[in-house]
C-alpha cells in the first residue's frame, strides 16, 4: 500500500509538471489579453505531430526537437494573432472565444485530412534513467519530460520577470491603457505574448508525445485538463500554473487506489467547479492570502 501510494505520488508529480507546462501557455494568454484560448488543445496536438515529423522525416533527436517546435510555435502563434485574434481583442469575451475556436476547427479539420484520427507513436526510451522499486517502475522518459517541463517553465519565468520584454508583458497584463501611455507598443506585446503562449503549448505537446501515443484529437483532453490546472493555480497566473498542474497530477494519482479510476474525471471537474466558485483567484492564492 505504502509503495503503491509512493509510486502514485511520484507519477502524479511527474505527469503534473507536464500538465503545468501546457497550462502555462493557456494562462499566460488569458492573463495578458483576457482571452480564453480555445485553440489550446489543437496547438498541443500540432506540437505532438511536429515531433512525429521531426523525428521520422528529419531524424532529429526527440528532445532536441523542442527547440524548432518552440520557434515554429512562436511564429505560428504570432501569425494567428495578427490574422484571427487582433481584430477582436478588447471586444466581448464571446468574440475572442469564437475566433480561437474557429482556428481550432481549421487546425483539426486539416489535421484529420492529413493524418486521420488514428494514433501515432514516437518511440523514445531512456532506460538508464528508469527507477524501479518493489515492482513499480518510473520510466526514464517520464523523468526527462518532467525535468524539461520544469526547465522550460523556469526559463519562461526568467523571461517574464527578468527581461525588458517580460516587464512590458506584465505591464500590459496589468493595465493595457497605462502601458500604452508609457510608450509600450501594446499591439506587438500582445502578439508576442500570444506567440509565447502558443509556443509553450506546442512544446508541452512535444513532451507529452515522447511519453504517450497521440491522435490529432488528443489535444482536447489536455485543453480540459489545462482549464482545471489554471483554476487550481489561479487564472492568468503563470507562476501558479506549474503548481496547479502538480496538484492535478497528485489528485489523479492519489485518488486512484481508493476509487475506480473512471470516477477520476467526476472528482476532477466537480472540484474544478467548486474551487472556481469558492476561490476564483485560485487555490494557491487562497493558501497564501491575496496577492
Amino acid at each position: 500500500m505504502i509503495f503503491d501510494l509512493t509510486a502514485s505520488v511520484i507519477n502524479g508529480v511527474l505527469v503534473g509538471a507536464i500538465y503545468g507546462l501546457a497550462a502555462i501557455g493557456l494562462t499566460l494568454i488569458f492573463g495578458v489579453m483576457n482571452v480564453i484560448n480555445l485553440m489550446h488543445g489543437a496547438t498541443i496536438a500540432l506540437g505532438m505531430f511536429s515531433l512525429y515529423l521531426l523525428t521520422t522525416a528529419v531524424g532529429l533527436n526527440p528532445y532536441l526537437a523542442i527547440v524548432p517546435v518552440l520557434l515554429g510555435g512562436f511564429v505560428f502563434g504570432v501569425l494567428v494573432y495578427w490574422i484571427a485574434v487582433h481584430r477582436v481583442i478588447g471586444s466581448s469575451d464571446l468574440m475572442t472565444l469564437l475566433a480561437t475556436f474557429a482556428v481550432n476547427m481549421i487546425i483539426i479539420g486539416v489535421g484529420t485530412a492529413v493524418w486521420t484520427t488514428s494514433p501515432y507513436n514516437v518511440d523514445v526510451s531512456v532506460p538508464q534513467l528508469a527507477i524501479s522499486m518493489h515492482g513499480y517502475t518510473i520510466p526514464g522518459t517520464q523523468i526527462v519530460a518532467a525535468v524539461l517541463a520544469v526547465i522550460l517553465a523556469t526559463l519562461l519565468y526568467g523571461l517574464l520577470y527578468h527581461t525588458r520584454l517580460g516587464k512590458a508583458i506584465r505591464a500590459v497584463a496589468n493595465n493595457r491603457a497605462a502601458a500604452e501611455l508609457m510608450g509600450i507598443n501594446t499591439r506587438w506585446v500582445l502578439a508576442i505574448s500570444f506567440g509565447i503562449g502558443i509556443a509553450v503549448a506546442a512544446g508541452a505537446g512535444v513532451l507529452i508525445a515522447t511519453l504517450f501515443p497521440f491522435t490529432i484529437l488528443s489535444g482536447a483532453n489536455y485543453e480540459l485538463k489545462s482549464f482545471v490546472v489554471v483554476v487550481l493555480g489561479g487564472l492568468g497566473d503563470p507562476a501558479g500554473a506549474m503548481l496547479g498542474g502538480i496538484v492535478l497530477g497528485l489528485i489523479e494519482g492519489v485518488t486512484a487506489p481508493f476509487v475506480n479510476v473512471s470516477w477520476t474525471p467526476v472528482i476532477e471537474f466537480t472540484l474544478f467547479v467548486i474551487i472556481l466558485v469558492l476561490f476564483p483567484a485560485g487555490l494557491l492564492a487562497f493558501k497564501w492570502g491575496r496577492k
Binding site: 466581448s92 464571446l94 472565444l97 481549421i106 487564472l235 470516477w263 467526476v266 474544478f272 472556481l276
Partner: protein
C-alpha cells in the same frame, strides 16, 4: 406583457407562421426527408434561442447549455424506459427536474463573471458527462436503448416519430415566443441592465442574483424537454452523444451568426448553420474539408460581421428594428 400587446407585434406573427410552416409543410407533402432536415433545424433553433437568453440578453457565456439537453434526454428516457411511463409526463418531469437543478447550480456559479463563468460551465458539462458515464441507473457507459416497441404506445414507429417531430416544432415556437415575451417584459429589462453593467443594475435596484438564477433555470427548461423528445426519436442515448461539448459551442456560433440578443436573428442563424453544415456534409467537394470550411466561415463572421446577420440588417434598414425583433 399583456396578450393584446404581443398580438400587435409583427414578430409574434412571424414566429407563428414559421412554426406552422415547420409543422405543416412536411406533414402535407409527406416528405420525410424534409422532416428530418427541419427537425435538426428546429432542435438547433431551440438550443440557440434558449442560450440566447443567457448570452444575448444577460451576457453570460454558457458553454454547458448542452448539459441541459443531454440530462433532459437521460431523465426523460429513464422515465419512459425504466419506469415505463408514457412520453408526455416524461417530458414534463425532465423539464422540471433539469430546471430545478439549474436553479440550484445557478445560485452557485452565477456569482462568477465573464470568463470565470464560462469556464465553470465547461466544468459543469464535463462533470455531468463523467458522472452519467459512471451512473449505472442511467446505463452508465452503455447508455439506454429504447426498445422498438416503446413506439407502439404512440401508434407505431412511423406515428411516434411524427408526434415527436410535431412536439419539437411546438417547443421551437414556444422558445421563440418566450424570447420575445421576455424581451418585452420588466424581467427582460432587468436582464438587459445586467448585460450592460451588472454593478449599475444592482445599484438601480435590480435583484441581479435572483434574475440571473431565474433566467438560467428558464433557459434550461425547453432544451431539457427537447432532449427527451430528440433522444426518444433517436432510439438510444449514450453519454458521448448527450453531452457533446462541440454542440454547445456550435449553438453559440449559431446565435452569433444570426445576431445575439435578437429573436428572429438567432432563429435564422441556427437554421442557416444547420443547412450549411448539412450541405457541406453531403456535398462531395467539401465533405473532406467541411470542418475547415465551417471554421473559415466562422472566423470571417467573427472578424468582419461581429454583430451577426440581424445587426447588419439593422445597420442598413434601421426601421426593421421594430418589426423584426
Amino acid at each position: 406583457m399583456g396578450s393584446q400587446v404581443i398580438l400587435k407585434r409583427p414578430t409574434f406573427w412571424i414566429i407563428l407562421l414559421a412554426t406552422l410552416a415547420f409543422a405543416l409543410v412536411p406533414a402535407l407533402t409527406g416528405n420525410l426527408e424534409l422532416r428530418e432536415n427541419l427537425l435538426l433545424g428546429a432542435v438547433y433553433i431551440i438550443l440557440a434561442s434558449n442560450l440566447n437568453l443567457m448570452i444575448g440578453y444577460t451576457a453570460y457565456v454558457n458553454f454547458g447549455n448542452i448539459a441541459f439537453f443531454g440530462l433532459g434526454g437521460y431523465i426523460g428516457l429513464y422515465v419512459v424506459n425504466v419506469l415505463g411511463w408514457s412520453l408526455w409526463p416524461a417530458c414534463l418531469i425532465a423539464g422540471v427536474v433539469v430546471s430545478l437543478l439549474a436553479f440550484i447550480l445557478g445560485t452557485g456559479i452565477l456569482r462568477l463573471r465573464g470568463a470565470y463563468f464560462a469556464l465553470a460551465t465547461i466544468g459543469v458539462n464535463e462533470a455531468v458527462k463523467a458522472f452519467v458515464t459512471n451512473f449505472e441507473p442511467f446505463g452508465g457507459a452503455s447508455g439506454m436503448y429504447l426498445s422498438f416497441s416503446s413506439f407502439n404506445a404512440l401508434g407505431g414507429a412511423r406515428h411516434a416519430l411524427w408526434l415527436a417531430y410535431f412536439a419539437i416544432v411546438v417547443l421551437m415556437g414556444l422558445s421563440l415566443w418566450l424570447s420575445l415575451a421576455i424581451k418585452n417584459s420588466r424581467f427582460g429589462l432587468g436582464l438587459f441592465a445586467i448585460r450592460e453593467d451588472e454593478d449599475a443594475a444592482m445599484v438601480l435596484g435590480v435583484r441581479t442574483p435572483r434574475y440571473k438564477s431565474l433566467v438560467y433555470a428558464i433557459s434550461a427548461f425547453i432544451p431539457a424537454v427537447a432532449g427527451t423528445l430528440f433522444f426518444f426519436k433517436n432510439g438510444v442515448i449514450l453519454p458521448d452523444q448527450a453531452f457533446d461539448l462541440t454542440l454547445s459551442i456550435e449553438a453559440i456560433v449559431m446565435l452569433m451568426l444570426g445576431g445575439q440578443g435578437t429573436v428572429i436573428g438567432v432563429a435564422l442563424g441556427a437554421f442557416a448553420y444547420e443547412q450549411l453544415r448539412g450541405f457541406l456534409l453531403v456535398s462531395s467537394t467539401f465533405s473532406q474539408f467541411q470542418l475547415v470550411v465551417a471554421g473559415v466561415l466562422l472566423l470571417l463572421i467573427v472578424l468582419f460581421l461581429p454583430e451577426g446577420f440581424m445587426g447588419w440588417v439593422y445597420r442598413h434598414l434601421p426601421r426593421l428594428r421594430r418589426v423584426i425583433e
